[in-house]
């Protein structure tokens, strides 16, 4: 079953056409990578799916329901989570408080005005468990803005994961990371997304071929090819457009 599907998705930025009828299909439980050269429209595709932009034409379906043009918070409540290419955390709050916001959202605690949040033991416990799992328990009380780059990126990804979504959209999770940090991040993603559906934008071919079950290649706003990694590697059109010079 397709957990996420787009049909003929078009998007333009006041005249500049970025997406030309994208038909993306993501099956439940797979790790699906979206690759393509710079400017291919990968992040725009993400933004249209997750509600940052409205598509100019086409539909998006999530769990069989049409969600075209739905707002980010509605999608999150339906079970979609996303991380950002440019780290977007709550920089003046501590790591703990960052994750706690995600846990509060997961528990649907939104307009609770009659209890102290520090006294909510279950929330604190669960937040600490998450911090341990993502190896940030030592940075628990540090403001997110003071974390090292790699750890900050981990927090970014974990914020998306901590709401416990069924579909996780990761926009270049390893952007700007060192080799070592990338390795850790990939391990983290692998560990935390066990049994979940992941859509991931990446540039790092090692990451893609070690993580992804299926790959979609985006080129100038259109899907060039979609299939398992082995098939994509052999695809002549993909080689010409993107992979060719990489010799994978």
């Amino acid at each position: 079953m397709n957990i996420l599907e787009t049909k003929g998705l078009y998007h333009d930025f006041s005249g500049l056409q970025v997406l030309f009828g994208v038909d993306l299909q993501v099956q439940e439980g797979e790790r699906h990578a979206v690759i393509g050269p710079n400017g291919a429209g990968k992040t725009t595709l993400f933004n249209v799916i997750t509600g940052t932009y409205q598509p100019s034409r086409g539909q998006v379906y999530f769990k069989g329901k049409e969600i075209t043009g739905a707002k980010p918070h509605e999608l999150t409540r339906l079970g979609m989570g996303r991380s950002f290419q440019i780290t977007s955390t709550f920089n003046r709050l501590t790591t703990f408080q960052n994750i706690r916001l995600a846990i509060l959202s997961k528990k649907a605690i939104r307009f609770q005005l009659f209890r102290k949040v520090d006294k909510m033991q279950d929330i604190t416990r669960e937040t600490d468990e998450v911090l341990k799992r993502i190896n940030l328990d030592r940075e628990r009380d540090l403001p997110a803005g003071m974390l090292s780059y790699g750890k900050h990126r981990s927090l970014e990804i974990s914020l998306a994961l901590a709401t416990d979504p069924d579909l996780i959209m990761l926009d270049e999770p390893t952007a700007g990371m060192s080799r070592d940090e990338t390795h850790h991040a990939v391990e983290l993603i692998r560990r935390l997304t066990e049994g979940k559906t992941v859509v991931i934008i990446e540039h790092d071919m090692d990451v893609i071929f070690s993580l992804a079950d299926r790959i979609t290649v985006l080129h100038y706003g259109q899907i060039l090819a979609s299939g398992p990694p082995a098939e994509i590697k052999q695809n002549q059109a993909v080689k010409d457009a993107y992979l060719g010079e990489l010799e994978v």
Partner: protein
Amino acid sequence: MRNSLHKWILGVAGVIILAIFPRLAGIYYTNVFLGFATFALYAVTLNLQLGYMGVLSFGHAMFFGTGAYATALALTHIQGFPLLPAVLVGGLAGGLLALILSPLLVRVSGTAFAMLTLAFGQLIFVLALKFREVTGGEDGIGGFRVPPLNIPGMVSIDMTNQINFYYFAVAVIVVCLFILWFYTKTPFGTLVVGIRDNAMRIDYLGFKLPQTRAVNLIVCGTFAGIAGAVHALLQKLVSTVGVLDIQTSFEPIMMAYIGGVGSFFGPIIGSGVLRLLEDLVIRFTERIGLVNGAIFILVVLYGPTGIVGLFHSAKAKWFHKEKVS
């Protein structure tokens, strides 16, 4: 353990000082203190917008003034209107105004929010100035009697007695401050701070942004209205200049910055400092604005975290405590 003991001692000391203050300071300084206390509450409500949610309001006086007018009007026109409802009417009026404006105000932030609040603040100011039949125009509303505090079947405390009124006003303000302090500690309070840091991510975490902002605005409007109501009862005169003018909107901003935005108690300290200073400066010159302005500039330039922030960094320096605020 030691920490909570500290807090208890501080709390008990605070209560004792508040209780014996009128005996120590005399009636003049008691009223100065009440002026400080109402503005402290008012500045705290502004800081819940500025320091907690990250939007600067240039028209916060509209909530304060609406509250003050509502209380004054109720006491003038309704015979035998009791005291506590008179205070609550002020809060209700402030909250209602916030509710009415919220559909517009919650959809903007940054400069647009500042300008929009400035516009609405001025609108309400002019409205109060021109709608003479109701508001008395420039003369305002005066001459209403502060009703006694009736506890049915028990006592009736005369509130024209200034000492009695002091206890009543301080009780109202302390209760309001406690409620607001508690409010910042709730899950919703952390959500508000999240909006300050990264509104988009709050949306992506699954929270409704406009509604969250609206609730914070209404809470601020309500308690600013209560501060206005207490102000009206204290002054026994409500007129546009003094509760609705631009000066009244700017004062809490200065208080918040001087005391320290982002800290709950910052605006209270800022309010105290400004009031003390005013009392000192007035003996030498009438140009209080000049002194206040100079201090404001100094704080913005050299201590953007305000007095509370300076205190924290000094503490960290002297005690070599690794603390990042």
